[in-house]
């Protein structure tokens, strides 16, 4: 019997990750040494504050709790800061190397993120971005297409006069890419919260109440798509030019893949770009080095998988497929 075709899809990766072994071993050494130092320093800080508090108790009969608590806080900050340095080093050394393997056109800035103004302009979320932070900006060209993405955490401030609290309405990856067709108007494909919560009749009525700055609602012919998403558009024909049956199917699949509780994937199409907001499970950090335990090829492989998972969104949307009048951005003719 003929042997099955060997799976070559992973051939390059393990070999490549093996090349990272030395870097990873050095990082592990550095991390463990730094952790030891950070733990010792933190322990000393805590011990000193405990002694101070006890001293105060013996000397004056007063337990100086107001020294103890800031002391513990300082110890935690010192530990986090010291470990943060190693964490950043892992990102700076490993992520760019993995990205180059996936596409040499991609660059990385661990401290960068998609600008707040751009997030706001995409209008995927109606909440106010009162607190906005992000990291891990990947940018450049992927398969010849200009793309950018970063982690973001965006919160809205709630205040009832006495208490102020921040509610996180987006925590995940926010992506921007050049879309494969030219278009003039703006369109939004948003999670259909109304229809999911209130059923079709009431949900439909609620959807029709206009969202500010979102054009008008339109219904697509795919019932499965309509159940998960609501489409707002400034032009009905152009919305269908963009949202082909195939793309709607892809978007449905993506929404299933990145489902996370009530947070769901949302899309905006404007200025010939597509904006995608993907909630990430548990708001977990991406491309992170584990703070203890193994730090080797398995860690790098996990980071690589995270990168591939995000980049696969551009693949399934076939953004590099340029069959229409909009040409490939980096070539006059392909």
């Amino acid at each position: 019997m003929k042997d099955p075709e060997p799976d070559r899809s992973n051939d390059v990766r393990p070999r490549f990750i093996a090349g990272l072994d030395e870097t990873l071993a050095e990082l592990r050494e550095l991390r463990d040494a730094t952790r030891k130092k950070a733990l010792t320093l933190s322990a000393v800080i805590v011990a000193v504050t405990v002694l101070l508090s006890l001293g105060a108790l013996v000397m004056s009969g007063d337990f100086l709790a107001f020294v103890l608590i800031p002391g513990i806080i300082i110890a935690v900050v010192v530990y986090t800061q010291m470990m943060g340095g190693v964490r950043l080093k892992y990102k700076k050394l490993v992520v760019p190397a993995l990205l180059k393997e996936l596409d040499p056109g991609l660059s990385y800035n661990p401290d960068g993120c998609i600008p707040k103004e751009e997030f706001r302009r995409s209008n995927i979320f109606s909440q106010r971005a009162d607190s906005y932070s992000g990291e891990d900006l990947v940018f450049g060209s992927y398969k010849g297409i200009p793309v950018r993405f970063s982690e973001l955490k965006v919160q809205e401030k709630h205040s009832d006069g006495k208490n102020t609290s921040y509610h996180t309405f987006f925590s995940g990856v926010f992506m921007v890419a050049d879309f494969n067709k030219d278009f003039k108007y703006s369109h939004w494909v948003l999670p259909d919260a109304a229809e999911a919560a209130f059923g079709q009749v009431v949900g439909n009525f609620l959807q029709k109440l206009k969202l500010p700055g979102h054009g008008h609602m339109t219904r697509m012919e795919d019932p499965a798509f309509e159940k998960k998403f609501v489409v707002y558009t400034e032009d009905d024909v152009e919305a269908r030019y963009i949202l082909t049956p195939k793309l709607m199917h892809t978007m449905l699949k993506l929404s299933e893949r990145f489902r996370r509780g009530v947070s769901k994937i949302g899309f905006a199409f404007m200025n010939s770009n597509v904006y995608i907001a993907i909630p990430i499970e548990g708001g977990r950090d991406l491309f992170e080095m584990p703070s203890r335990g193994d730090l080797g090829s398995e860690t790098a492989r996990r980071t690589l998988e995270e990168l591939k998972e995000i980049l696969s969104v551009f693949d399934v949307m076939e953004l590099d497929l340029r069959l229409w009048s909009k040409e490939h951005p980096y070539s006059s003719r392909r």
Binding site: K181, T218, R219, M220, E221, D236, V237, E238, A239, R240, Y241, T244, L321, L323, W324, S325, E327, R333
Partner: protein
């Protein structure tokens, strides 16, 4: 009091009739607009035909019959005034165009010529636009037909002569939807 009611009831009825009439008229206008949208795209496709024929005829001498048929269909489609006839000619034109593009595959020089690639792109673009305008039309028709059918609109629709519009049915060959990407990659 009964006198007041006698006055109010007709006013309410009249206002209701006006609202329903306007809503139906607006939906009907949407259907007509959407239909005009398809027509614009079909015209664009017609305009592409002479360009295509002149680019490929030097190479495709053996298929001169196909090209002649394409040109003839184009002339007839452009001249047709009856919408039903136009649509049926456009359907034929669409099939003939597809046929030519498949035949182009047999001529490697032709297939890789910048002009033909550009034409293929324009054709894909227009086909995508046609498909989008048809779907927008169907969506407008569905909206309008539903408005006519529901109670009590159905009573007034009959009175004012609002009748259901027909949906665009994709021709079997359109449904087959050949993968245009393959035309480039082969």
């Amino acid at each position: 009091m009964p006198l007041l009611a006698l006055l109010i009831i007709p006013v309410v009825i009249i206002v209701f009739v006006i609202i329903v009439y306007n809503s139906l008229a607006a939906k009907k206008a949407n259907v007509q607009n959407a239909f005009a949208g398809i027509d614009v795209q079909l015209k664009k496709r017609c305009d592409l035909v002479p360009n295509l024929v002149s680019s490929v005829k030097a190479y495709m001498k053996h298929e001169s019959g196909t090209l002649e048929k394409l040109t003839e269909l184009r002339t007839r489609a452009a001249a047709a005034t009856d919408p039903a006839e136009r649509l049926s000619l456009d359907k034929e034109l669409s099939g003939a165009l597809r046929n030519v593009m498949v035949q182009v595959e047999a001529y490697p020089d032709l297939k890789s010529s910048a002009n033909v690639i550009q034409l293929q792109r324009s054709l894909n673009e227009i086909e995508e636009q046609i498909s989008a305008s048809r779907r927008a039309y169907n969506s407008a028709v569905t909206d309008y037909n539903l408005a006519i059918r529901i109670f009590p609109n159905n009573l007034l629709a009959g009175m004012f002569g609002f009748t259901e519009s027909a949906l665009f049915e994709a021709a079997p060959e359109d449904r087959a939807n050949p993968n245009v990407g393959d035309l480039f990659n082969k």
